[in-house]
Symmetry: C2
Subunit: 101 residues, 2 copies
């Protein structure tokens, strides 16, 4: 379970209002990883099984799923992962919220 880890991160990231803007940019990355994990579990696959499909190692899948946030994956990597769990991807653009609400 990584729920606590994610929760901890959010709490820490949001603890100071000063870092809110940074969190805004970190948030999509975490939203993505949560989705990846959810899709994989929904498909009933282990990290190792996905690694096999993509001809790589389970450690790399683990890194992709909960990267250190200092690490931004390539679009093609996300695509391949999505393919392994049976999904296509699309990037959705939504008008940005004002920085000073």
């Amino acid at each position: 379970m990584n729920r606590s880890t994610l929760t901890d991160f959010k709490k820490k990231a949001l603890s100071k209002a000063a870092v809110n803007k940074e969190y805004q940019s970190l948030a999509p990355a975490y939203a993505l990883r949560k989705k990846l994990i959810a899709l994989r579990q929904k498909a009933g696959l282990t990290q190792e099984q996905i690694a096999d499909v993509l001809h790589t190692q389970k450690s790399n899948i683990s890194r992709l799923e909960n990267a250190n946030s200092v690490n931004s994956p390539k679009l093609s990597t996300i695509e391949q992962y999505a393919d392994a769990v049976g999904y296509d991807i699309e990037i959705k653009f939504t008008p940005k919220k004002a920085h000073n609400e």
Copy 2:
């Protein structure tokens, strides 16, 4: 205008049924680039203006917008571009179409 270039690509890519599968994986990348260009033009910005905002060069923006398809951008790069034109991004997952329809 690069419309003709994109159209040419699609025509060529789809000309042989054998490469349809490859096109499936190339398609999201091209869909993305078309969106990037559309958003930039909608914002009334030039590549150079975006480059200034992101503290980089217009040549790099050009490369991002119409990459040679052998090149897959990082998620953070797309994020930064989106930010420059006033948008947030989100990755949408949709169940994969069957390979043999």
